[in-house]
């Protein structure tokens, strides 16, 4: 059982973060990227060709993270691999003790820098969750036995601000039915949409089965906000938020305020089991934001065995 699984089972507040993409550099590069995040982050998402741009594979990064003493969440997307390749990656992960898996459908190839690539989507995100659970039952999709039987903590993602808004919780429920146990949410910039999603998830009992982990992205400029809005599929960025940063004397400080406001709002919603942070720059942004939010360090939370010390506001 992974530490993340243990923490989620115990109802402890968890902090996850996006591992920046790397293109080589071995353990030294991993350490360099982790340096400022380590004090707060429980587990790191090793992304799978995010926005359809090729980088070091999530399996390699996940194994590397384990080797440098950090806990990985291996993302897998359905865009680049058929079911055989996905099974092989899951089994490779299990072989090295990479237990946390996050299953995504994946951005389309047209979102990336090689739009001429063939899109695969042999499975969809929900079926990929089910595939991981299938392996955990001790056999491949074909029914062929597996020994030793792998164990995973399977998670997924959902986007509360993408249409059809009323149906997103139903889709999340389908992911729980398939076997997902945590749900990392896409960044939501319209707080009312996150509220709506999390309230519906709480009211239907879904957040008891599926640990809800909203995402917070730390940006630095209005230009970066516009770039994310235009090039990351599924992001609904209100124009007034960009204008607010644009007209601020210190854009970076204002961006940080925006991230703080979104994060404290998210933490106050029902069923929230943790937060997921995304920052493209290797600096102390995530640690600074966690400290401002009153989130205890990883060490403090682990030594207390419980994160009741988390304060909002």
């Amino acid at each position: 059982m992974s530490a993340l699984e243990h923490k989620l089972d115990a109802g402890e507040f968890v902090v996850t973060a996006e591992m920046p993409v790397i293109d080589g550099g071995g353990h030294a590069e991993l350490q360099r990227q982790l340096e400022f995040m380590r004090p707060y982050v429980d587990a790191y998402n090793a992304t799978d060709n995010p926005a359809a741009h090729a980088h070091v594979s999530p399996l390699a990064v996940s194994i590397g993270l384990l080797q440098v003493g950090a806990e990985p969440i291996m993302q897998l997307v359905c865009r680049d691999k058929n079911r055989l390749a996905l099974e092989a990656d899951l089994m490779g992960a299990a072989m090295y003790g990479v237990h946390n898996i996050c299953c995504l459908t994946g951005d389309d190839v047209t979102a990336g820098d090689e739009p001429e690539a063939r899109r695969v989507f042999d499975l969809d995100g929900v079926q990929l969750i089910q595939l991981a659970r299938t392996l955990e039952r001790g056999h491949y999709l074909s029914g062929r036995q597996i020994e030793p039987i792998p164990h995973f903590l399977v998670g997924a993602v959902e986007n509360p601000s993408a249409p059809p808004l009323e149906q997103r919780v139903r889709r999340a429920a389908k992911k729980a039915l398939a076997g997902a146990r945590f749900l990392q949410l896409q960044m939501v910039y319209r707080t009312e949409l996150l509220e709506r999603f999390l309230r519906a998830a709480a009211d239907t009992g879904l957040s008891e089965r599926l640990a809800m982990i909203p995402s917070i992205m730390i940006l630095r400029t209005a230009g970066a906000m516009r770039f994310v809005a235009s090039s990351v599929p599924g992001i609904d960025m209100p124009a007034e938020l960009v204008r607010r940063v644009e007209s601020a004397a210190d854009a970076e400080a204002e961006c940080f305020e925006v991230a703080y406001e979104l994060a404290s709002h998210a933490m106050a919603q029902p069923g929230v089991a943790g937060l997921h942070f995304i920052s493209f720059r290797k600096d102390a942004g995530i640690a600074k934001l966690c400290a401002r939010l009153g989130i205890a360090t990883k060490q403090e939370r682990e030594s207390h065995g419980h994160s009741a010390s988390v304060a909002v506001g």
Binding site: R83, D122, S142, G143, P164, Q167, R171
Partner: protein
């Protein structure tokens, strides 16, 4: 030893005629892609194979704020339409929430009518057991 997945015999002339007929009927109405395992009644009479990602279990997270497709901005998301239409159906309304198995790529081009009649379209890999 693991048993090989059963493979289908080549289609008879009759089966090919039925498939051609099915395509003639369903292509103009639903833009049918002849996956051979039709789920139209489960998806608000909207063909999920017309989704550029061929998603069978609901929309991806890339749907644009106006309800249009991530991949084809000029097209409304297949799943936005599917949910709307499923609400209007007298039957099968809840089927949209069912967990549909992976597509059996061996059935592509064959008649889903025949596969429905024979039960072939309900066959799933031996290891596939959702909802456990």
């Amino acid at each position: 030893m693991s048993p090989a997945h059963p493979t289908d015999p080549p289609p008879s002339t009759g089966a090919r005629v039925v498939a051609a007929l099915e395509h003639v009927v369903k292509k103009p109405i639903w833009d049918c892609r002849m996956c051979g395992q039709c789920v139209l009644h489960d998806t608000g009479l909207t063909c999920p194979m017309t989704c550029p990602k061929t998603l069978r279990n609901g929309p991806c997270g890339g749907v644009r704020p106006n309800g249009h497709c991530e991949v084809k901005p000029e097209m409304r998301c297949v799943w936005v339409k599917a949910y709307e239409r499923s609400e209007k159906l007298p039957l099968w309304r809840d089927h949209i929430d069912q967990l549909r198995p992976p597509v059996d790529n061996q059935l592509k081009g064959s008649s889903s009518w025949i596969n429905l009649a024979t039960g072939r379209d309900k066959q799933v890999p031996a290891g596939w057991a959702p909802g456990e």
